[in-house]
């Protein structure tokens, strides 16, 4: 398949792996600890485990799996809010499928559906808008979830609803942003990271410039990365080259998708519909300034938080979860006290076990249950 097969080529993977090993060998005499490279995005984590990339790397290079899985980092209280909205009379609650299993403090959306709430999975917010068109006697709420990648589709849907004057559609906005979160990780006192693979699909919307501060202010190499196995290996090689040469700049490996200035119509739609929240609570990481968006007052008619009574409860993460330490690279998933026992994909307790793109779920599903098996 065009644009897929050529990025899964075995010989090229071997060649890149060899080059990575050579740089690691060159760097080894000067290292006091393994180099830690964070892939922020859950999509990257998924590829790394699906293709066994971590096992192809030299011992002195560790991948740290970041918090870039929006389903995983959704706080429990927000899931409770979704359930409360979905259980209101005459409401059709629509959501992406991967949000259905996220545990709330009492139940998930899947359990609420089993209890009788009208909850429907959609592939796009436009599908939800279509449901609203076809059900004028119902209130249709779309659960807006995801990073800068999915924000434009939510924004365009609200704008479309406004154009068509569809008044029974609203958005429950839980969109979050990656860049402040990378900064929060960098500001953490126990931060040990040496470089980043930046989320390619976020950069597709935002362009390269929002990542400049990572190189300029924190002096960490960062490479915008695609999602096929060769993309990951190529980007790792680029990061390691920067480290070897003592450079720290933003480089773009995903040039087939990411333009330097991003996607103007998408950014314009985001800017038109959304504004920054002063802070947003992340599961596993706590409250991070400027890391989420809400709908502007001018779109209150399409804002589920304004149209309905949302409990807006703050529910703390389970105490025993160590997701925060995992995403900062301080510990590996198998070091967590409840990994694979109390917390597993069937009954996730921590953020990173919720979605298949979460680091803990990736470790568990791929058989890395303890250090010796890796």
């Amino acid at each position: 398949m065009k644009f897929v097969d050529e990025f899964r080529d075995t010989e090229k993977a071997k060649s890149l792996t060899k080059a990575i090993h050579q740089i690691a060998l060159n760097l080894a005499p000067n290292l006091t600890k393994p180099l830690q490279i964070m892939e922020f995005c859950g999509g990257h984590t998924h590829t790394i485990f699906r293709y066994g990339i971590e096992q192809m790397l030299p011992d002195n290079i560790e991948m740290v799996h970041g918090p870039g899985c929006p389903v995983c980092v959704l706080p429990m209280g927000r899931v409770d809010d979704c359930v409360a909205l979905a259980e209101q009379p005459d409401v059709i609650f629509t959501t992406f499928g991967d949000a259905m299993r996220v545990p709330g403090s009492k139940k998930s959306l899947l359990q609420a559906k089993a209890d009788g709430a009208d909850i429907r999975m959609t592939y796009s917010p436009m599908d939800a808008l279509n449901i609203a068109r076809n059900n004028p006697d119902k209130e249709v709420i779309f659960f807006g979830l995801g990073f800068e990648t999915t924000m434009p589709s939510s924004a365009f849907t609200v704008l479309q609803a406004e154009r068509e004057n569809i008044s029974n559609f609203s958005l429950f906005c839980n969109h979050i942003t990656t860049v402040p979160t990378i900064k929060a990780v960098l500001d953490s006192p126990d931060m040990q990271l040496d470089g980043f693979l930046a989320p390619g699909h976020v950069a597709m919307v935002t362009g390269e410039r929002p990542f400049d501060f990572i190189a300029l202010d924190y002096h960490k190499p960062i490479v915008i990365t695609g999602f096929e196995p060769l993309d990951i290996l190529h980007s790792l090689w680029m990061v390691l080259q920067q480290i070897e040469q003592g450079r720290s700049v933003v480089e773009n490996q995903y040039t087939r998708i990411v333009q330097p200035n991003g996607n103007t119509p998408a950014l314009e739609a985001i800017s038109q519909v959304f504004e920054i929240r002063e802070f947003f609570e992340w599961r596993g990481l706590g409250s991070i300034d400027h890391s989420g968006v809400r709908m502007k007052a001018s779109y209150a008619a399409y804002d589920a938080e304004k149209k309905f009574a949302v409990p807006n409860l703050k529910i703390a993460d389970p105490k025993s979860c160590q997701c925060g330490e995992v995403v900062k690279g301080v510990i590996k998933p198998w070091d967590c006290k409840i990994f694979g026992t109390k917390c597993n994909p069937e009954n996730p307790m921590g953020a990173l076990m919720v979605s298949s793109e979460g680091a803990c779920a990736a470790y568990y599903n791929n058989g890395y249950h303890e250090k010796e098996t890796a």
Partner: protein
């Protein structure tokens, strides 16, 4: 100089901190006040539920501690991090009673000796720090109290195991589902705050040991020093 289509304005809206734009003070204030409201309500609700469900357990725990002191024993307290502060606070309450007429009672914070703790941590392992001190100081009939919001701290559980071997009375303040403190059978009186929030759990623990301290002194009142005959017959005041 930026080009016209570099999307600068949109990026400033999305990432104000990258462009030295400070928070909107008005919106920030609204958010902060809402946060105060929600968290204070959660704190009050957590305590209300805990004390409604655990009143008898508190009295039982207080009786156990009073018995330790009646038998001239002493209490040992332990915890990690914020819970170690609760252990220290617990000991101060008993050693330095703030209510007039109440005696000072022996209580030892097992994390207070930095030299001892760093020695055991370095030489043997952190999970042994409390065990070694119990071995050195504790006597049959003394009491051991531990604070752990998860109920699963390894060093506490090791100390409880030692305490049971030495025939000490054991008490625990935990959170969540009580963890191993609840399930192990090593803790005679385990008080569990049913919350996943470390802060709400610890706030409830403070209220809990303040009340227990009060109950212990009430229970010990009869066994305080003898009252002289003249006083028993009443004064002329």
């Amino acid at each position: 100089m930026m080009s016209e289509n570099d999307n600068s304005q949109y990026l400033q809206d999305l990432y104000p901190f990258l462009h030295n734009k400070s928070k909107d003070p008005e919106q920030d204030e609204i958010g902060l006040l809402e946060s105060v409201k929600q968290k204070s309500i959660a704190s009050i609700d957590t305590k209300r539920v805990f004390f409604a469900d655990n009143a008898q357990a508190l009295v039982n725990a207080a009786r156990a501690i009073a018995t330790v002191y009646k038998n001239t024993g002493r209490m040992y307290a332990m915890g990690n991090g914020g819970s170690s502060c609760d252990a220290a606070h617990f000991c101060v309450e008993f050693q330095h009673p703030v209510t007039a007429g109440r005696p000072a009672l022996a209580a030892m914070n097992l994390l207070a000796d930095a030299a001892m703790n760093s020695a055991v941590s370095n030489d043997v392992g952190f999970q042994h720090i409390f065990v070694r001190q119990l071995n050195a100081h504790a006597q049959q009939g003394d009491g051991l109290v531990g604070f752990s919001t998860s109920g699963c701290s390894d060093n506490l559980m090791a100390a409880y195991a030692t305490a049971k071997e030495m025939d000490l009375v054991t008490l625990g303040f935990a959170g969540g589902d009580g963890g191993e403190m609840k399930s192990s059978g090593l803790v005679d009186h385990c008080l569990v705050v049913d919350s996943d929030s470390i802060h709400r759990i610890q706030e409830t623990h403070v209220a809990c040991y303040h009340i227990i301290w009060d109950l212990v002194h009430t229970l010990l009142a009869d066994s305080r020093g003898p009252v002289s005959k003249e006083n028993q017959t009443g004064s002329t005041l």
